[in-house]
Every structure is written in structure tokens, then in C-alpha cells.
Symmetry: C2
Subunit: 420 residues, 2 copies
């Protein structure tokens, strides 16, 4: 099964937006074993859209079109499909009803008559009733290919892909697709792939895809079956095997972020966290508080960029600052202890280091120390991260959050790989 993605929209060609739809679709299609062989982007011009659809239909089994299904004059995908099929348009009353009803739901003005264009369906095509937005999807035969057209709004496209298009492409008839994502920190993508390789060598379902970014690796498992329960039954043992082989580096088996995972663990234990941040500059606090409901388990964070603030706000002893130094295991531990005390929290996380680009006080850029402190733990870890300022800060956040995660789960805490 070969697929081609055609994105319609002059705003993409002008660089006003980035084509994140193509990335999302590519990942999901790969997961069900559909090869995306080409992608095209074309502007809001009927002739060019028609040519793009014909070219795609000549070389792919499935053509996935996004964008150009809105109600305005520059939404031309419907017309282009009818032209490519050489058929006329039929206005569907049930779609008119849907449009009037939804319009009334978000506006008190009368609906412009031109919006009824969205109720038009090319002869010989089927429509897909949208659950989000107002743009019906279209399914149309074109040459030997099947064309699936969806709205360009990411949420609307994703909804229609998951509910209809992916199952249709995954198998014949009413296949169901289920997927699960395991998230990993502290192990690189190629090492993860090597550990898992043979698991997916012999069987065609579940399939596996790896996605690495910003100090994490995501492993997506996807299974297809005739019913949801069967797809889940295919996934469960494989996910368990992946988890068993990778071990403690897996922090989530349901695509939860590291900060959400830490929050859940804190909530389950009924304790709160506070941070003392130097090189991360508030990044850990920003991530923790991005989780809705964080106020139940997040007490606060002191971003202490200076020696004075470390001493006065977090109570880092002067003998640590003058003796061990601002980037040391002793300082990170004192920051973690100070954060607990200052914000009256059970768990403290301290992060210090040199984000770069220049060395600071003789310490090399990329040097990071993180520490966790609680009544039953006092543990620091120093390491050197490569990369630019942004990357060093991100890896420090990951290492700090992961240290807390491991402490709360009662598993091995990683030790220093450098001395400072």
C-alpha cells in the first residue's frame, strides 16, 4: 500500500505556517505499514490542485489531501476533486442541516449563504461527517487510487484520520488501529532500537517506530485487528516485553510527559516538590506547572542565578560556595535542601551547572549537577552534556526530573560520571 500526501494552501508556500500535518500523518501511516512515497504542497489554485491530485493518483494507492475544505472563496479542494473526476457537484441536505446547526452553536449572526458550499459533494464521492469543526471529509475514486480529503486544521484532520482514514488504510473493511507510546530518557535512540530490533523482525503487527527529540526517545507500538479489544491484546504483551527489556529508562507507558509522570508520582504519594534552579533558569518549574492541577503537588521554585541569592534565598552555606564551588555536588544538594525548607515541601530538587557558551569560574560549559533531597534521600549526580546552551539546559531538566522520578519509584539512582 503506497500513499501520497497532498497539502493545499498558499500559506504553506509563503512560509506563514509549517507543515506539521505531514509529519503527523507520516508517522501514523508508517506505524500501520503504509509507505508514504511522495508529498506535495500546492497553493490555492484549482488547476494546480487538479494536476497535483492526478499526479498523486497516478503513482499512489491512497491520496491524502489536507486543506482547502473551508467555507471561503479560496477553499478550492472540493472543486478540484470534482474537476479531476470530471463530475458535477451535489448539495447534500443533511450536511446543510449540520452546517446551520453548528454555525448557530458559535455565532448569533445568520450564517452566510456561501458557507453552504461545505455541503457540496462531488458526484460519485462519499462524505465523512466531521466530529470537530464544520468541514466534511471526502472519499473519492480517482483512477486506480482512492482519495481522502480532510480539513487542514490539525485537530480536525487528526480526528478524521484516527476515526476513519487510518482504519480504512490499515486493512480491508473495519480494521481497528490501536497504538501505545513508551517514553524513555537516559538511553539513546540507536541503543533503544538495538535492544528491541529482533522483537519486530519477524512479525508484521505490532509495528514499531522510534522518534528521538530533546533528551527523550519515544517508542510507538501500533497494532491492527478487527476489534479494539483484539488490537489491545496484541499490544499488551509486546509493550510489556519492551518495558522489560529496556527496564528503568522507561518513564511512561502511555505517552505521558516526564513532568506529568513526576506529578502523578508526587500526587500518589501525597507529597509536594520544590526546586532550586540555577542553570535551568526556571525551566523545571515551567514544565512542572504546565501540567494542569500542578498546584496539588508543586510548591515552588527559586531561580537563584547569583551566589548571593543561593546563600540568602536558599541558605546554601558560604563554606560550600567558597569551598566546593557553585557547580558542585555539595552545592546542588544544599540547593535541594534549601528549596524543601524555603517552600515547606517534602521533596527538593537542585540544579546547577554551566549552560555555556563560555566557561564560568573555571568550570567547563556543559557541566551539570542535579540533586534530590528528602527525609530518606540525599543524592547528587554530575555529568557533562554536549551541545549548545539550549541543549545543555534541556538535558539538565531531563536529568533532574528523572532523578526525582527514580527516587519516587524507589529504583536505582544514577551516579556521577564526572567530578566537579
Amino acid at each position: 500500500m503506497r500513499a501520497e500526501i497532498v497539502a493545499v494552501g498558499t500559506e504553506l508556500l509563503l512560509g506563514q505556517i509549517v507543515n506539521t500535518n505531514a509529519r503527523w500523518m507520516g508517522e501514523r501511516l508508517a506505524a500501520i505499514g503504509v509507505d508514504v512515497v511522495h508529498e506535495q504542497v500546492v497553493g490555492d489554485n484549482v488547476d494546480r490542485i487538479v494536476a497535483a491530485l492526478r499526479l498523486a493518483a497516478s503513482r499512489a494507492d491512497a491520496v491524502l489531501v489536507t486543506g482547502g475544505l473551508g467555507p471561503t472563496g479560496d477553499d478550492l479542494t472540493r472543486d478540484a476533486i470534482a474537476t479531476a473526476m470530471a463530475v458535477g457537484m451535489v448539495r447534500r441536505p443533511e450536511l446543510e442541516d449540520m452546517l446551520r446547526e453548528r454555525f448557530a452553536g458559535f455565532s448569533s449572526s445568520p450564517m452566510p449563504l456561501s458557507n453552504l458550499r461545505q455541503a457540496d459533494v462531488p458526484e460519485g464521492a462519499r462524505y465523512l461527517m466531521p466530529e470537530r469543526g464544520t468541514a466534511p471529509g471526502l472519499v473519492a475514486p480517482l483512477g486506480d487510487a482512492t482519495l481522502y480529503a480532510m480539513a487542514g486544521v490539525p485537530g480536525e484532520m487528526q480526528e478524521m484520520m484516527e476515526r476513519f482514514v487510518l482504519p480504512a488504510l490499515a486493512g480491508t473493511g473495519d480494521a481497528v488501529i490501536a497504538s501505545t507510546v513508551l517514553r524513555i530518557t537516559g538511553m539513546g535512540e540507536s541503543a533503544v532500537a538495538e535492544v528491541l530490533e529482533d522483537l519486530f523482525a519477524s512479525s508484521s503487527t505490532p509495528t514499531v517506530a522510534y522518534l528521538a527529540s530533546m533528551g527523550e526517545v519515544r517508542v510507538r507500538l501500533t497494532a491492527k485487528a478487527v476489534a479494539r479489544a483484539e488490537a489491545d491484546a496484541l499490544l499488551r504483551p509486546v509493550a510489556a516485553e519492551v518495558r522489560a527489556r529496556l527496564g528503568d529508562v522507561v518513564f511512561s507507558e502511555d505517552d505521558a510527559s516526564l513532568e506529568a509522570t513526576v506529578g502523578e508520582l508526587l500526587q500518589a504519594r501525597g507529597v509536594r516538590i520544590a526546586c532550586g534552579e540555577s542553570l535551568t533558569g526556571g525551566g523545571v518549574a515551567t514544565r512542572l506547572t504546565s501540567v494542569a492541577g500542578a498546584s496539588a503537588w508543586f510548591a515552588g521554585s527559586a531561580v537563584v542565578y547569583t551566589a548571593t541569592a543561593k546563600h540568602e534565598v536558599l541558605g546554601v552555606p558560604m563554606e560550600v560556595i567558597d569551598g566546593d564551588g557553585l557547580v558542585s555536588e555539595a552545592c546542588a544538594l544544599a540547593m535541594a535542601e534549601g528549596a524543601r525548607r524555603t517552600f515547606r515541601a517534602e521533596v527538593g530538587l537542585g540544579l546547577t551547572g554551566v549552560a555555556g557558551p563560555a566557561p564560568h569560574d573555571g568550570v567547563a560549559p556543559g557541566t551539570v549537577v542535579v540533586a534530590v533531597a528528602a527525609d530518606d534521600v540525599r543524592h547528587a549526580r554530575a555529568f557533562v552534556s554536549r551541545g549548545d546552551r539550549e541543549r545543555v539546559r534541556r538535558w539538565a531538566e531531563q536529568a533532574g526530573l528523572d532523578l526525582v522520578r527514580r527516587y519516587l519509584q524507589g529504583i536505582t539512582l544514577p551516579v556521577s560520571s564526572t567530578t566537579v
Copy 2:
């Protein structure tokens, strides 16, 4: 002048990375008046790359190719260009020298001989010596079109576009392109465009492009001329007119971020800032400390998520907490004063509010109060932001940083548009 972008790389089709290169190139090409009419993405397969190049050359004047110029076996763009041109390959000794020299610069191992593939140039094509990375660019005639091939690494592609390809496309021969970006907060994209519209209606240079995101509008002005000085001379009066028409909402005339602008103003005045953050959860501190050299003007931030922390860490009086409430002008001012005091900084910024999704203590989600305090200022501003949690937090950061920017520039401070 019509251009087409061809991105080469199976990782794009698999959705492992998003095609940000196309967005960057589209924006820059639009700025010099070059129409991008199509984009294609094709995998690492010689036959398909050749077909994509031929199709592009049949309908565009300039074909911009990214990716596939690396040293490994799946880098096939060079071979595809030679095949499309029906010519052989010539190995260039000066490129071999460059490769050996750069390889020695980042590795102590001997360079694999296969890396010398990067010294191959199709007969009849020219190469572009890279300033970054090791992949030479290629300029080749193909039918009536000219093909420009560049590395897929964004920084390497951008360097080659700015130094060579954009000037080549901007005019005949040695045209130079200069552009400048004004950044605006506190005014919407359509309002900005309306104020400026007539300025760009009659003349073809400079051109204007608008890009709105995350509480900011960027106005890019681009001019082409035969020499840098002339392009700058074209830009300067128009940029001044744009600045004059828009007034105080312009915070940068050289594409500097809001946080960098605030940092520059603090540094110029020789004062330091400290923050007290509630709903932004450390976001302001994260942005300020992302600026290299921030330690000269950033003292620290207290992320105080609880009433207790606001009182104990920042000294917000209990009568403010119990009387005015945690989301009030009095509380934001007390947080700003407390941050100054706690971190011994001259300027304090306080941010409180309800990020949502649920109301908090009877205050509606989206309610934001920001305040600035220093020896000569005590000013708070309350407003209601629409949107989800992430958006409310971002708008609070923008409003807080902009309040400090306006105070430091000695211009009007915006007043509350709601009462809390």
C-alpha cells in the same frame, strides 16, 4: 520568477522530522518577490529524486533542493542531479582538501574514504563552498531551469541561502538583499497590517511580510539593490516610517526577542531584575535566562505557587492575601516588591492570575495581573486573556516583560482593562 522546493529525505516522509526548511525558505523567497508555486518531498531513492527534479525543472525557473548531500550511502542528491543532467561526475581536489581539513578539525580518527563523495561535482555544475558543515552546495542547469542544491541541516542551508542563493534569485547578477524585522507586542496582526497597508501598495521595494505568533507580530521588510549600502538606504526610511506609525508597540527594530530587549535595557541602565511568578510558573525566568549573558542583569525569580510561599518567600502581607486576594493588583505589586527585596534587585516584576482551565478561588480563568516595581515606579495592570492554559501563560509573560520594557524606556504604561 517561479521557484519550486524539493526536499529530499525518507525521514521527512516517515514523519521523524518536520519540514521547517520549507517554511524558512518560503518566507525568505516571498520576501524577495519570488513565487514558490510547488513543494515536493521525496525519499532517498535515486529514480524518484531524478523524477522530482525533472518535474520541478519543467515548471519552475529555479529549483531549490535540500538534503541528500551528506557523506553516507543514502545521500543521493548528487547522483540524482548527474543522472537528471545525463552527465558524469568530476572529483574536485580543492573540495577534497576542504573535507580533509574540516574532518581533522572535529575528529582525531582518519576520515573514511567514502566521505570524499562530497568532493564530487556533476560535469557542467558549479559548487558552492560551505562556510558551515562539510557539504558543498551545487548549482546546475537543468532544462530551462537552474537547480540549487544545499544541505538539509537548517543552519547550513540558511547560511548558503543567505550568502548565495537569495542574492542570485533577487536580481540579475550581483543583487544584494537586506532585510530587517520589527517586532510588536500589544497589537494584532490585522491592525498592524491596516496601519501600514498604503506604505507598500505603490512600490515594489521594500516588500513587507507579516508573521504573527504567540502574542507577537513580526513585520519583515526586505529590499534588493546592487550593493548592501543601497539596500540599507532603501530600508532605513521605511523602517523609520513603520516605527513612527506603530509607535510604542514596537519593541525591537532588529528582530531581537522581547526578553533580549529587556535584558539590553537593564544592562544599559546598569540595574538588575528579579521576578515573583505565580501563573507563569517560571516562564519569565526561563525566557530571561535563555539570553546569553543574563547573569549580568538577572538576579533571580521566585515561583510561588501557594499563598504560603507568596507570604513566606516574597513577604506578600496576609492582609493582601486575605483581603484583596491572590489575584489582585495589590498582590502583584507586593510580589514585585518582594522579588526586588528577596533578590536585592533594583527592578521587580510580579505576575499572578489564573491560567485555567478551571476558575480558582472564584476568579475566572484567563485573568492576569502583572506589576512592575522600582524606586520610581509602582504600576499594576490587570486584563483577561482568552485561550487555553498555555496561551494565557504566554500572554501573561508578554504583558509582564512588556511592562518592564516600557518602564525602562520611560514610555506610557498600559492600565488595567478589568478589575479583580
